[in-house]
């Protein structure tokens, strides 16, 4: 039916990224393959290498794994810098994330096998425990990153945050005018709803999207049984639209919170981990 004009696709494809793969699938799961291979090598060599009296962090094998693990942790923590540093040379943050995820998971094996399964109540095990905390919080991150974006997108319904808030403001202005002819108690309920800071709530409310003290909902309840009164009907319909708008914003905040909350564990724990690792390494060499 037709012919396409000649275009230099190879050239443009290099500048674009039409791969359209998620960070998990990046380059055909390249980093999953590398991480799996790494873990296999560690597990298999663990049984092949004979360390007397038993595997421990202080053997040459333990030192090797420990060094790999330490360097890996330092490199993995650099993702935070890479993400914020826009250099001119080519790099793919998606590639970095992919490597971060899979190599980070490989640390479970590298770190644990480095201990020789000797855990106790000391600074060494503290480092291991912090590492596991970082990895587990990261695992949560992987899960929410793959599950929640759809919900975030569906809930937005093509609106930006700004438009959502503007929508709410517009409803508020209409409510203020519409509530003028109402009785004292009804208009009081509306005023309370309008005066309340609808988004001020604790961590739980933010993460669950449930706001039990929502004055708009209470105001709506106050309008039960006012059917037939034209002014009251108008305010009720405005209130329920306000309620719906609030819920959309709160859901948006909830998804964003769920997508970000783990970083509040992941990042501080990483910093603690690096501190504990320093203590671990220094003490090991000090008491050599």
């Amino acid at each position: 039916m037709a012919s396409l004009p000649k275009a230099n696709f190879a050239f443009h494809e290099r500048r674009r990224d039409t791969d359209h793969e998620s960070f998990l699938a990046h380059k055909g799961f390249r980093w999953l393959k590398i991480a799996t291979a790494l873990m296999l090598v560690v597990v298999v060599s663990y049984f092949l290498v004979d360390v007397e009296p038993r595997h421990n962090g202080g053997s040459w094998y333990g030192y090797t794994l420990g060094t790999i693990g330490l360097l890996l942790i330092l490199w993995l923590s650099l993702l935070g810098v890479r993400k914020r540093k826009m250099t001119e040379k080519y790099f793919s943050l998606k590639g970095w994330t992919s490597a971060h995820v899979y190599l980070g998971l490989a640390l479970i094996v590298i770190g644990t096998w480095h201990t020789g399964f000797q855990l106790g109540w000391n600074v060494h095990t503290l480092a291991w425990a912090l590492m596991m905390l970082v990895i587990l919080s990261g695992l949560y991150g992987i899960v929410v990153y793959s599950v929640l974006p759809r919900s975030l997108s569906n809930n937005r319904r093509e609106m930006t945050r700004e438009q959502m808030v503007e929508g709410l403001d517009a409803l508020d202005r209409q409510l203020e005018t519409a509530a003028q002819p109402l009785d004292r108690d009804l208009s009081d309920a509306v005023i309370t709803a309008l005066d309340q800071d609808a988004f001020k709530a604790g961590v739980i409310a933010r993460l669950t999207g449930r706001y039990p003290r929502c004055a708009t909902r209470k105001a709506l309840r106050a309008f039960d049984g006012t059917g037939g009164n034209e002014a009251a009907d108008k305010v009720r319909s405005l209130l329920s639209r306000r309620q719906a708008q609030l819920e959309q914003i709160r859901r948006h905040m909830k998804y964003k919170a769920l997508l970000e909350v783990w970083l509040f564990v992941h990042i501080p724990a990483t910093i603690l981990l690096i501190a504990a690792l320093t203590a671990h390494v220094v003490s090991v060499f000090y008491y050599w």
């Binding site: 012919s3 674009r16 998620s22 914020r84 974006p149 759809r150 937005r156 930006t160 945050r161 997508l259």
Partner: protein, 802 residues
Amino acid sequence: MSAAARAAALGMPHILIEKTDHLSDTIYKYQKGKHVMATPSNLVLRSDIDFDAGKREFILDTWDTQIADQSVNVKLNAEVVEITGETGNFTLKLKGGEEIRAEAVVMAIGTQGNPNKLRCPGADLPLIQYQLDDPGEYYDEHITVVGSGDAGIENALGLAADAAQGNVVTILNRSADFARAKKANVALLEEAEKEGRLIVRRETEPAEVRESELVLNTRDGQEAIRCDRIIARTGSQPPRGFVEAVGIEFTSDDRAAFPKLTPSFETTKNGVHVIGALAGYPLIKHCMNQGYDVIEFLNGNTDLKPADEPILAEKFASLPGNRSVEEWLETFRSNIVILQELSPLQMRELMLDSTARAYRKGERIFERNAPGSSMFAIAEGSVSVEVNPNDSSVTVPIEQGSIFGEVGLVSGRRRGATIHAAEDTVCVEFTRGAALKLLATAPSANRAVNRISIERQLLQMFGSGLTSDDVAELVETAEVQDKHAGEVVIKEGADDKDIYIVRRGSMIVEKNLGGHEVFLSYLPAGSYFGEMAVIDGSARTATVKAAIKSEVVRFPGEAFVALLDRKPQIRERALRDMKDRREVNSFIESQKHSFGGAVDLYSKTAQFLVDNGIGEATDVLLIDETLCVGCDNCEKACADSHEGLSRLDREAGRTYAHLHVPTSCRHCEHPHCMADCPPNAIKRGPDGEVFIDDTCIGCGNCQRNCPYGVIRLDAKPPPKPSLLSWLLFGRGPGPGEAPYKWRKKKAEEAGTEQAKLAIKCDMCSGIDGGPACVRACPTGAAIRVAPEKFLTFTKLVQEDAD
């Protein structure tokens, strides 16, 4: 004003007539504090009044003081309604009956202040007014506002603001949305509509104005509403009626045409002169220089060379033969076919935006695949075109007077062939903007370029081995057709036998499967279609319609068949193309039975993308919202890669099936933003990117012309503290675009005034790593795609299923 100052300096009796109660109305109407630019910077200012880039207030102040100091005779609040008489004895009648006599008249009235009238019967009834001074003075009236721009909306809101006035206000909008108005205004209007304070009628226009009644053309038919007053705010136009009434002829009937002028700015009405925007020179510096020049001419200084003379002299300095500027202009005009109808003034202006160069025999003029959107014309000599990329010895000559390089002009694409000078040659190179202006103002030039470009497109499309004689029959019968978005070019099942080339815009191919239109494929500019029915004589197998406003070239099928009969290698090529298409079609048809849902999704997603401008895009940012976590790292990376301002808005824009089209430049095949750029600062770069260079004057035309809202005007922010000092000590605003407050505070501290200039995505040209938005996406949600590669079944559906 510049003219009056010159006259004052020369001691000529003069009067400066101004309609409003202040001078420099155009600049006066700028918003407060606006930074006014002084371009073109290479043009010297020749005026008794100073002008340099600066704040609106400063310029107005300077001018007012200097006009007063130089004892210029100014008459404010005077509107000329009629000019009669002959050269040496004119009578200017003012509103209010006063008359002024003059020997000569200089018109520098610009193009503003002349509102568009309603185009319907009854448009001159007294209930229509074109301005609203005080909305508070009308009570208990039915008022209709016509116009969907900011002026119309603001008027309507003002009239409806106080319910106690008892006005019933209706605002009409010809289209469904208020695209030309500011968002804030539209929001206020919609809110007022919801509250019932005023009535908004969309897709409605006036059909007839009667006494106290207005007949409307609505989407569903005609309807009459009560109406006591109409406020028409539908923009303004050059006051052509007034100018023509004076006896001045225009170059053509085109709405955008300018008056015919001699080199001394005299119109066809002897003694009346036109300068400035009305003469086609919108830049302030041009206008001021012309004001000076025209008075010098009137004073008998005929030797005065225009202010652009040194610029042109420098341009022509390297040309052989030691000819004067005027001689060169005349050589160009008489030798180059497309320039033959131009006036000397037009020639001068055209050459200001163009360059002339001499090439030695054998010298390369440009190379295949090189970027470039300029057009060349051969003033003296001839050139040869290497038509075969693999064999540089195969060449086709282009003779003196003809043009080349016009393909880049029409489509903004790279050069299709290498061109050498066949002998010692002088060529004129027109920038894209200058060439387009030429085509728009000179119909003969347009026809000539059209014919040549169709012939060359054919030759290029069907590859080597063809000569212009082979396609002569096709070119002869070719017809350029405009197609509006959605217009069907070929209907499935029909038995017409024409073939088409997409000249600009793009097409989508659809097929009716089981009662649904299913999207088959996308055809960008430069494709041909319709040959299947011609070759095998069958009925049309699919519908082809314009994705966006497009231009196609139609050829009768017989001429094409005749060509195929003469050239077996082209037949082979066509058959091969046809086979490929058939395979795609039958693949999608077979999928339809097994995976109806997938085909549906594909069809709808493709349609969604086309609706959102992908149909005219060359490279567009998409966001897969199944992957996007909303971290806005794309925006931050964009800001950090480009002077601290983000050129994309991730959240804004439409979404379908989790595929989001953010507010970001699509790098249109035919960019709307390029259409009306006074300094011609918008260009297409080497990688196909549309970018704005540093000659931008911040006028905002591109922002208004972009249908996708991707251009913003903002001042370059001051530098931020380094990333490390932010990470460790919390200094500065951190990565990404700094908040407005921070930028403003820092700029004030630094004490540097920065003009607000237009900024938009440049596809990170010049940055080795490529587009920062894509590189900085941690999850792979941001992708950049070319429509012809992305609008395929595999990309849209199968990959998604993986």
